[in-house]
Structures are given as C-alpha cells and as structure tokens.
C-alpha cells in the first residue's frame, strides 16, 4: 500500500492536529480528523486507517492531570478497538499530550497488579516550558525512529517528567529497549544531562518511549514543529536545511507500510 491513511484523533482541547496532519501529508500519508465523540460512536473508523495519531494539546484542559480524562475515556470506551488495531500490526503515535494519554490509558505501558508502571508528571520547574532540546535515539527498536541518531526539536509542556513507579520498572523498560528517545546535551552527549538540556527532570532523561512491539510510540517533543527549515530557531545563522529534522519520524511511519 503506497499511501497509508492516518486517523488524527481530535478531542476538546486538542490543538496540534492541523500541523500534525500537514507533517503526515508531507511524509506521503493521507489524513482524516476524527472527533472522540465520533470514534466512540463508530469505532470501526479505525479499520480504515493504518496509523492512529494522538496529537498535542490540552485534552479536556488537562484538568485533574494532563491527558487524564481522555485517557480514561479511551480506556473505558475504546480499549478493545484500539488493542485490535494494534494487534493488526498497525502504528500508534502520541505526541506531547498524546504521549501523556497513551501512558495514562495504559496502551503504551500496560498496568500490572500494582497499577500503571509509570507516569508523566510536573516538570521539576513546576511550570510550563517552551524551548528546544537535543535528543538522541538509544536503539532501533521503534518503527518511528529507524535510521535516526539525533534530533533537534521543540518541547512545550508542563507535565513531561517521566517517573517510573520504581527501579524495577525502569530496569525492565531499559532491558526491553523501550526507552528509545532521550534528552542529551548538544552534540549527542549523554551521561550527565543537566537542566535545561533535560528540560523537565525526566528519570533517565527519557523523552519518548515505545511499547514492546516498537509500534506504539509516545514522545514529549514536537516533531511536527520541525518540518520546514524556517522553523529551526537558528536558521538565520546556520542557513536553511532542506527539510526539518522532525519529518523523518513521519516518513518512517509512512514507509512502514511500503
């Protein structure tokens, strides 16, 4: 199949849907927007799509906690359909608020008897922060990160600090190679990564992670905000690249269905 179709889920407070659709189309996909009410009414809409994307924003105002309400809605109303979608070998991407939703709904890291293994909570600064970060991929487990070594992308969030329930959880994710994207210092240097390079104090500098299959991916940074070279904060100094670095993530998703 040449042009996979991307279902971009909208909910009250979703606000990165347009530019995310634009990114997928630039990468060669076709997109359609589906409102959560509509999807709950007819979950079969998922059948026609190859990629499910939860874009950034403030679903339901991030009231109670970021992504919490939409997460519980997906859990209670759409769990079966989404698991089926995933079991069919399709892809799920959550960006920023979408990542928070995938974590808090348990689709990315399924709950055990003690509940959810990890969460995304308040930045160490206790504030919303909009800035650019250096990122390094850890392995090639994740479909969306194939062939990518480093990325320079913006973040814009208040609740992006990755916190596992305990050390055991962290080690398990580590050894399963699920901690695929990490904040690093300029030039890809990891090891000790202080603020602001690790902008929120994430445990193990985690910026994004994938499920055991590598086909569900969530990340706090915004790849859809670095598609065009003029989005780079220093293009007037460093010149215009051909494309923005974030595009590769969407291209990987589309190519997966070649």
């Amino acid at each position: 199949m040449s042009q996979p179709s991307v279902l971009i889920l909208r909910a009250p407070g979703t606000n990165c849907d347009q530019e995310t659709a634009f990114a997928f189309e630039r990468a060669g996909g076709t997109t359609n927007f589906v409102h959560i009410n509509q999807l709950i009414e007819s979950p079969r809409l998922l059948l026609d799509s190859q990629i499910l994307c939860l874009p950034g924003g403030f679903s339901y105002g991030d009231d109670i906690a970021a992504g919490r309400i939409l997460a519980s809605q997906l859990q209670s109303k759409l769990a079966a359909s989404i698991n089926q979608f995933h079991a069919a070998g399709k892809l799920i991407l959550g960006i920023c608020n979408g990542f928070q939703i995938l974590i808090k709904s348990g689709f990315l890291l399924p709950p055990d008897d003690e509940g959810l293994p990890a969460t995304l909570t308040w930045n160490d600064s206790g504030r919303f922060l909009a800035t650019w970060v250096n990122l390094k991929t850890e392995n090639d487990k994740c479909v969306f990160l194939q062939g990518i070594d480093q990325l320079y992308l913006p973040i814009a969030h208040a609740e992006g600090k990755f916190v596992p329930r305990n050390q055991a959880v962290l080690e398990a994710l580590q050894s399963n190679q699920q901690l695929v994207l990490k904040y690093c210092r300029p030039g890809g240097l990891n090891g000790h990564v202080p603020y602001p390079h690790n902008p929120n104090g994430s445990t193990a500098q985690v910026a994004g992670l994938c499920d055991v299959t590598g086909r569900i991916f969530g990340l706090m940074p915004h790849p859809e905000r670095h598609i065009d070279p003029t989005q780079h904060p220093r293009w007037t100094r460093e010149g215009l690249a051909e494309v923005g670095e974030g595009l590769a993530i969407f291209q990987n998703a589309v190519r997966f269905f070649d």
Binding site: F22, Y60, G61, I64, Q73, R127, Q231, T236
Partner: protein, 1005 residues
C-alpha cells in the same frame, strides 16, 4: 455554614435524591515528591515578610456529591483523580474526623474554595468525566487545603487574606468543612421590576445610578427620564441596565468619540468626534491616497481591523485592554483578557481563525517593599505572576502561539496594572463581512450563563478604590479555555458551511451588547428564559447583562438551524436559540410570555446625550536634562551606565515570561521572540507563516514609551509609532504594508489637562500615520486609570498612571526566507548605524537609571524615517544585511551589546563618524563628554544597527546613499565589546558580563 450557589459544575437544578452523600477527597504528593502548591504559597509569603520558619502542607481536593458509596468514591479517586505514582489520597464523608487530623503538628487548618458564581473549570471537567464513567454524580467542587505551622493569629490572617486566598474569587474556611450539600442555586420567582423615575429629582437620579452601579452621568439619567416621560411610562430595571451597558465608556467610547473643546496655548480646536477626526481620518486619507492600491479591507468597523494578506486570505488584528479585572484578580483578569480578544478575532467578519497572540503589560516594580504599597492593592510581584500565568494557561490551551510582547515598569502602575492582549486571525477574503438578516434566529453557543462579571462594562468605566475588591467582585471572572476552544472548532466549521449570516462575541455587557449591536439596523426579540444557566436563580436582568465567558452570538437563518445545532452537538457544544431578529426597529425582551423590556434601537444607539468635554494641553517649557545620581564624582563611567541600563527592568530579558508561553504551536513560527546562538537574544519582532504551504509571513511588533509622555505626549505618540514600525522593518517586513493599532490608557479624562494630553497624542497619531502612509485599522481605549485611597493621615490620595499609548504593528513579509534576526553572525563583518543621532536624552533610559529629569524628548522626522525604512527594507530583501536591530531603550550602546551577546561575539566600534550636536542637553555635569553620551545613549528614532559582510560593503553603501548611514566598526572574534571615540575608550566589557547584567534581574525560578 452555607456557601450559597455552587461555584460551577452542576448537572441540573433538580433536587437531589435523599440518598445523596457529600464526599471529600484530599490529594497530596507522596513522600519524596515536591509539594508545589505549598512551595508557591511560601514564595508568595516572602513578599509579605512572613516568618521564614513558616511551613505549609498543601492538598488539592474535590468535593463530590452523588449517590455513591465509599467503594465507588475510592474507585473514582484511584481511577480518575489521583496519579498513584506521585500522589496519595484520603477519602471520607465531609466532616469526618479523619480529615481533620493535623499533619506534622501543623495545627492550623485552612481551606480555600472558589466563591459562589466563580467558574471552576477543573470541577466541570471532573463532573463530566465521572458521569461519562457512569457514576451518579450531581455536583463537584474543587478546593485547596492547607495545614499551617503555628503562627500568631494576626500573621495567619495576613497569610490567608494576602497569600492563600484572593477574596475577589475565593473564600477562606478556617477549620473543618461543615457543608451538608453543594447547593444548586435557589429557584427563581419571576417578578417584573419597574424603576419609577419619571418624577424623580436630579439628586434621586444620581442616587439610582450610583446604587445600581450604572455609571450613568446626571445628564444621561435626565435624558432617560425625558425619554420615558415622553413614552408616558416608567422604565423596567432591564431597560435601565441595557442603556447603562450600551452607553458605558467601555462599549461606546463616549469620551474619545465625543465632543471635545481643545486648546494647547497656540491653537484652539473643537472636535465633534475626536477619533473620527484624528485617527479614522488619517486612515481615510491614506486609503484615498492609495487609490486602487488600497490594501485595507475593514477598519474601525468590526471587532477587529482587517487588511489584505494574499489571494485567498485577509488578516484581522485587534488589541484589547483588560486592566481593572487584572488589578483585582490578575490570573482571571488576564485569562479572560486573552480569551476575550480571541473572541474579538473570531467575531470579525464571518469569523477569523486566530493564528497568534500578543501581550503587553505595565506593572509597578516587583521589588516594591510591601510597606510602601497603598492599602487594598496586591503586591506587584504577585500581580505579575498571576497575569503571566493567566495568559499562559488560556493562550496555551487555545493552541494559539503568544509570539510578541513587552513589559514596562513604573511605580505609578501600582494600583492600576495595565494588561493589553492582542490577537491576529486569518479570514477568507469572501468571509470578511457580515450582515444579519431579518427573521434570522439569534443563537448563542458556548458557555452557560451565570452571575459572572455582572456590571463588568460599567465597572471598567469607573475608577478603582481600595474597596473595589469588595464592591466589584462580581465583575471578576475566571475563564475556561477549553469551552472557548470547542466553540472555535465548531464555529470555523459552521463558517465554511455558510450556516450563519453574522456573528459577534459576548464581551462587556454580555447579551445586551452583542444582541444590541447585531440587531441595531433590524430589531430583535429575545427570549431570556431559554438561556442555558450554570445554576438556577438568575433574574431576567442578570441573564441579559451577565458577562459569563466563552459565549458567542450568531444570526442563523431558520433553514440552517438544525444543521447548525447538530454540528455543535457532535462536539458537545451547547447551542441555543435565544431569540429572533425582527424588522421592528425595537429591542423587545421577554421572559416566558411576559414582556420585560422594550426599547427603540434608535434611542439605544443614538439617544445618548453628547456632552462637550474640555481638554487643555499646557506645554512644558523645555528644560535641560539634569541628573543628580552622579554625586560629587562627575567623571562619567559609561561601562557602569551601560550595565545599569541593561539590568533595568524595562530592558532586562523577559525570558521568564516568554518561555512559559507556547510560541510555536500551529507550526508557523519563523522568527521566535528569543533568537541567537543560545536562543536567548531579544528579537525585534516575531514572524509567523500562517499558511503552512506558503512562504508569505506576518511580522508582529509593538512600540510604547510612557516616559516620553511625561515630557510631551505628542512625541511619545510619534516615537511609539516609529518604534513599532522599525521593529517590523528590522526583521524584513515591507514598510508599505504595515498596519497599526492604537490603545490609549489614560488617567481621569474628566480633568481637562489629562484629556488634553490624550487629544495631543491623538493628533500626533493622525499626523505621522498620514506622513508614513501607515494606516490605523483598529483600536481600543481605557480611561480613568486612577487608584484612590486614604493614606495613613486620613488624606484622600490618588495615583494616576502615566499617559500610556501602545502602538501594535502588523507587517507583511512576501517571502520569510529573506527575514533577518538581530544577533551578530560572523566576526569581521562591518557594523553600520543607519539613521541620525540627535541630542535626545529626555525620558531616555540613561536618564531614568540616573534619576534624570527634563531634556529633549526624541522626535520623529517623518520624511527621513520613511526613506530609512524603505532603504533598509530594500537592503534586507536584496540579502545585503546579516543582522539588524532597532535602536530604542538605551540607544546605540544597548543595541550593540544585545547584538553581541545574542551572537556570542564581540564588537569594536568607533563613534566618531556619527555626527552629534550636544547643545541643550546637560546642565550639571561633564559638558565635554556630551558627544559621547549622546551617541552612546540618545534614543533618537528611526535608527538601526546593521551587520554587513565585507563582500557586500559597496552594494550596501550604494543602497544607503539617500539616507544617513555610518560605518562605525566590525564584529570581533573575541567576546569583548569595545566602544571608543576621539575622547578615548568609552566602553570596554566582556560580552558575558553584559549578558549576565541583562539576564539576571527577571530570571525568576
């Protein structure tokens, strides 16, 4: 105790079943996780110098009322409300002892709850989520709970009233909560209220206006009395309120659009309508001059001004003020401010899609000691934090990037902080106008109506006093961004389906203004009993004038109603028919079958008496600049002065604010507010690319200078215009396509001298706009910005803000790939100053940091300004300029320092090529250094500092032939800033020191 009406989130107003229980859920961090609420409050306590030994343990929490057993509530808590990895919770029936067991021996228990009628978005969302999960929940309310370490009662009182609680939206409960139920409002018993005033004396009329907070003058009340005498009947309360709203300063701008007799010593002039004859007139003139090339579309007509963008879209721009609410409740004031101006753009034409926002603030210095604050005002540090958080939380949730702004500090803003919120929107060219049709339905969508913001319009037209927070609490509101986001999502779909003929936002005056404006040319009948309410008990008048947020009014042809309604329902947006436009020329207000009000549209809109106001401008004799901070040692230390200016609050880095705003959502960001090698240099203007597959961009900037206004409002106005334009030009905007907006914030304009300074500024706007061919397309004023109080000696005092004119500019960039930023790029490149430096240090930052007075205020030479803007734009487009920065606060020295540290490079300058005449400047020190002082720190207008590669030197200099342009140095490889002239070395500093001085003052944690 009873808390009256529930603050928000009630399922319906039906009585609850007997089995209903009221549960309380306390939620706080688990051990090892920070207690952020407590940390924030303790930081606030510092402003009031409470003991450092003070300790707090904070919980957030929910009161949940429903037919639920403990198990169910625990499920809700675990499954929905608590983040188990980082939080713990305590669940119990309200009043249960377990909730009152002190933590860590902190025995003072304090609850903070939203006041009845105040929006509680989190409670609304939580209620909805619980109901979606199938729980039988009737009402939810949030609260914060504090255990406070032992504290003397007086200090505990201070902590509660000044830090933990804002009594204009919240209330304190000391000790355990003793609520039996979250009341759902009381049933409303209809009663038609008539206000007999036909026989009233003038004194009684004045009294009625005061009692009912109508803010109507005697002559206005007399006019109303005569009108109803002629009708041979008494008015109802709602008729009186409607007139008060429609005639309010806020809605009708009776002062600026009014008659004014003006004199300024030389000339005398009478205006029949000040705005029409100055600012509008200039735009009219410019459009005539442009002829076929006229690119203005809709000016001073709609909620925002509209100009051409490309073949498909026009662009709308509006900047609003939201000062008074922000003084009482900074967070709510600022977030309803940004929410309101976004609705202005949405309500422009058939609806413009918001693409970016701007914010400009004026505060007293956040460092002001609390014992120097007049009674009844909030600490400026707290106001600033609240305002920024308010804009952040609303703007970010709307998904609209906040890309440009400025902050000014002056002690005179202590009781009247100023909050300007702007929004830019794209509207298809064929949807730029609207026309409601007779028999269209009047449809309201979005938020429900509560008592929020009653008398906001009349309140914002009155003066603040130390009692305002008590008297006018009703005028303060909290917004709910998501309600507005949902509204925006459906309305843009409805727009593209052509489902309605007109739209406007519900701003000041609520439905009374919205329906009144839309129906002005037709007539309207409104069915107030159909308006969906947050809780029962509102009278028909409260429904009519409520300023509940996130509501918009549409004019929908009957044939489209069902599609329109279904579209809204599909995304859970409430849409209600509340009336119909009927071709009667009358506004008829009904509640059920009862007619409660009937006014002729003509009297509403043209009936207001037009008084003549006196305005006098008394020119101050030009005094020489004198500084007194140099002490005995009169040898200047330019290094010291430069560092001092960079570290002054107006100039210092605003990254603490900017980084809290999402300035890149929507993916159109081209030039960000912070630029340079470390992404932290102060850009001149933001550039956005609103259409993702197009190269065309918009540049947004502003100009403001209250300090010049203290010397001469005329030159303040022209300087602000020049600054806004040159900021736009500096990044690559076409000077022939810049549109500007005015926002006048003044003191008491009933005082002829105050009104006089405003008139003089308006005349300046007219004059320079025409000379530069730069049209004003929209504006907004806010008058009577004075704070009055009784001082310690029992004397009445009044603090007026400085005359403050904000000019906002909207520029256009044909191809964003030609944009330039202000950071130095490469060592060895040449540095030019474009534009002439004059001995203009009056109101300059050099003067401010040296406590200077007097001096020549910067003026604008329109002819050379125009040539310079054109030449610089040509050079930028031709790719001849690597970096460009405008010269403003702090003059050349500050500009070159900023370019250097933004680029991580040094610079070596010699200022001798810059001609300066230094006469008329200083009296009391170092006359001989005058030329150096002037060229370093003068704030003359229309100047740029540009970086040019040696390869482009010739071409650049040719391009600058017709304008003043001086080669003054080069970018240096080492990071040292060296400035000299014939008198020797003036400045010699490491760039890192300059950056530190600039970055540290507002680098808040």
């Amino acid at each position: 105790m009873t808390h009256g009406i529930l603050s928000s989130a009630t399922r319906d107003s039906a009585n609850l079943p007997a089995t209903t229980t009221l549960w309380q859920i306390d939620i706080r961090p688990v051990a090892g996780q920070p207690d952020r609420i407590a940390e924030k409050m303790l930081a606030g306590a510092c402003d009031w110098q409470l003991p450092t030994s003070l300790r707090l343990i904070a919980s957030r929490g929910f009161l949940i009322q429903g037919t639920l057993d403990l198990a169910a509530v625990k499920q809700i808590s675990r499954g929905l409300l608590v983040e188990p990895v980082v939080e713990q919770s305590q669940v119990a029936r309200i009043g249960d002892e377990s909730l009152a067991v002190p933590l860590a021996l902190h025995h003072n228990l304090v609850y903070v709850l939203p006041l009845p009628g105040v929006t509680d978005p989190e409670a609304e969302s939580a209620l909805l989520a619980m109901q979606n999960l199938g729980y039988d929940v009737g009402a939810v309310r949030t609260y914060r709970k504090y255990w406070v370490s032992p504290l003397p009662d007086q200090q505990l009182e201070l902590l509660c009233s000044k830090v933990l609680c804002n009594n204009s939206i919240e209330m304190i409960v000391r000790g355990p909560l003793e609520l039996n139920e979250l009341q759902l409002g009381r049933p409303y018993e209809f009663q038609r209220t008539v206000i007999p005033l036909c026989e009233f004396s003038d004194e009684q009329l004045v009294e009625i206006s005061r009692q009912r907070q109508l803010s109507l003058s005697l002559i206005e009340m007399q006019t109303i009395r005569e009108h109803f005498r002629a009708l041979d009947r008494e008015p109802t309360d709602i008729e009186l309120e409607t007139l008060a709203q429609t005639w309010s300063e806020h809605c009708s701008h009776k002062t600026l659009a009014g008659r004014i007799a003006y004199r300024d010593g030389q000339t005398e002039r009478t205006f029949d309508n000040l705005l029409k004859e100055t600012i509008f007139a200039a735009t009219l003139q410019i459009r005539q001059d442009l002829g076929a090339g006229d690119w203005c579309v809709s000016v001073f007509a709609d909620n925002a001004g509209i100009v051409r963008f490309d073949d498909i879209f026009n662009v709308a721009f509006k900047v609003e003020t939201h000062n008074r609410p922000s003084a009482l409740e900074p967070y709510g004031g600022a977030n309803t401010g940004i929410g309101g101006v976004i609705r202005d753009t949405l309500g422009t034409g058939m609806g413009a899609k918001p693409i970016c926002s701007t914010t400009v603030f004026c505060f007293a210095p956040p460092t002001t000691p609390h014992d120097q604050l007049p009674p009844g005002v909030m600490h400026p540090h707290m106001i600033m934090q609240g305002v920024v958080a308010g804009v952040r939380d609303y703007g970010n949730r709307m998904g609209i990037p906040t890309v440009n702004g400025a902050v000014y500090f002056d002690p005179r803003y202590v009781g009247n902080p100023l909050v300007f919120c702007g929004n830019v929107g794209l509207v298809p060219r064929d949807k730029s106008f609207k026309e409601p049709q007779p028999h269209d339905l009047i449809v309201s969508i979005g938020g429900k109506t509560g008592r929020d913001g009653i008398h906001g319009a009349t309140f914002s037209s009155a003066e603040l006093t130390e009692d305002s927070d008590i008297m006018s609490g009703g005028a303060v509101q909290i917004g709910n961004a998501i309600t507005e986001k949902m509204l925006m999502d459906v309305m843009l779909q409805a727009r593209d389906l052509n489902l309605y003929t007109a739209v406007t936002d519900c701003g000041a005056g609520g439905y009374s203004s919205a329906v009144g404006e839309m129906g002005e040319k037709i007539g309207a009948e409104v069915w107030l009993d159909r308006v969906p309410l947050k809780y029962q008990g509102l009278s028909y008048t409260e429904i009519w004038i409520s300023e509940a947020q996130e509501r918009m009014v549409f004019s929908v042809p009957e044939s489209n109603w069902e599609i329109f309604r279904d579209l809204c329902q599909a995304e859970s947006v409430v849409a209600t028919v509340i009336g119909q436009f009927k071709p009667t020329g009358q506004l008829e207000l009904k509640y059920g079958n009862e007619s409660v009000g009937k006014l002729s549209m003509k009297f509403m809109h043209d009936g207001r008496p037009r008084v003549i106001r006196a305005a006098e401008f008394v020119p101050q004799p030009m005094t020489k600049l004198s500084v007194n901070s140099l002490g005995s040692n009169s040898t200047p230390d330019w290094n010291h002065d430069l560092l001092k200016i960079l570290g002054s609050l107006n100039v210092a880095s605003k990254h603490w604010i900017i980084r809290q705003y999402d300035h890149e959502v929507q993916g159109g960001s081209v030039l960000k507010p912070l630029v340079g090698i470390d992404n932290d240099g102060p850009g001149d203007a933001a550039v956005v690319r609103p259409v993702l597959n197009s190269r065309r961009g918009l540049a947004i900037s502003c100009g403001m200078n209250p300090y010049f206004g203290d010397l001469d409002p005329y030159h303040m106005a022209t300087s602000s215009i020049d600054e806004a334009i040159r900021n736009c030009v500096a990044v690559g905007a076409d000077p022939q396509r810049i549109a500007i907006l005015d926002n006048f914030c003044w003191g008491h304009t009933d005082r002829p001298s105050t009104l006089g300074s405003l008139v003089r500024a308006a005349i300046a706007c007219h004059d320079l706009a025409i000379e530069l061919q730069t049209p004003f397309i929209s504006g907004k004023d806010s008058l009577h910005n004075e704070f009055s109080y009784t001082d310690a000696n029992g004397n009445r005092q009044s603090i007026s803000i400085p005359a403050t004119l904000l000019i906002s500019a909207l520029g256009q960039v044909p191809d964003v790939r030609n944009c330039v930023s202000m950071d130095f790029k490469t060592a060895g490149n040449l540095i030019y100053q474009v534009g002439r430096t004059k001995a203009e240090l009056g109101g300059s930052h050099w003067s401010i940091v040296n406590q200077g007075t007097g001096g020549q205020v910067p003026t604008v030479d329109a002819k050379s300004a125009k040539q310079i803007f054109t030449a610089v734009h040509f050079a930028i487009n031709a790719g001849l300029i690597r970096s460009c920065h405008d010269l403003s606060e702090g003059g050349l020295a500050v500009a070159v320092a900023e370019m250097a540290f933004a680029g991580g490079l040094g610079a070596t300058l010699n200022l001798d090529p810059i001609p300066t005449c230094a006469n008329q400047v200083l009296v009391n020190s170092f006359e001989t250094e005058m030329p150096s002082l002037v060229s370093l720190f003068a704030e003359s207008n229309s100047r740029f500092l540009v970086e040019v590669t040696p390869a482009n030197q010739l071409e650049f200099e040719t391009a600058m032939q017709s304008v003043a342009c001086y080669l003054i140095g080069a970018v240096a490889p080492d990071s040292q800033l060296r400035i000299s002239d014939k008198t020797g070395i003036l400045v010699d500093l490491p760039v890192t020191d300059l950056k530190a001085a600039w970055k540290s003052p507002l680098d808040w944690k």
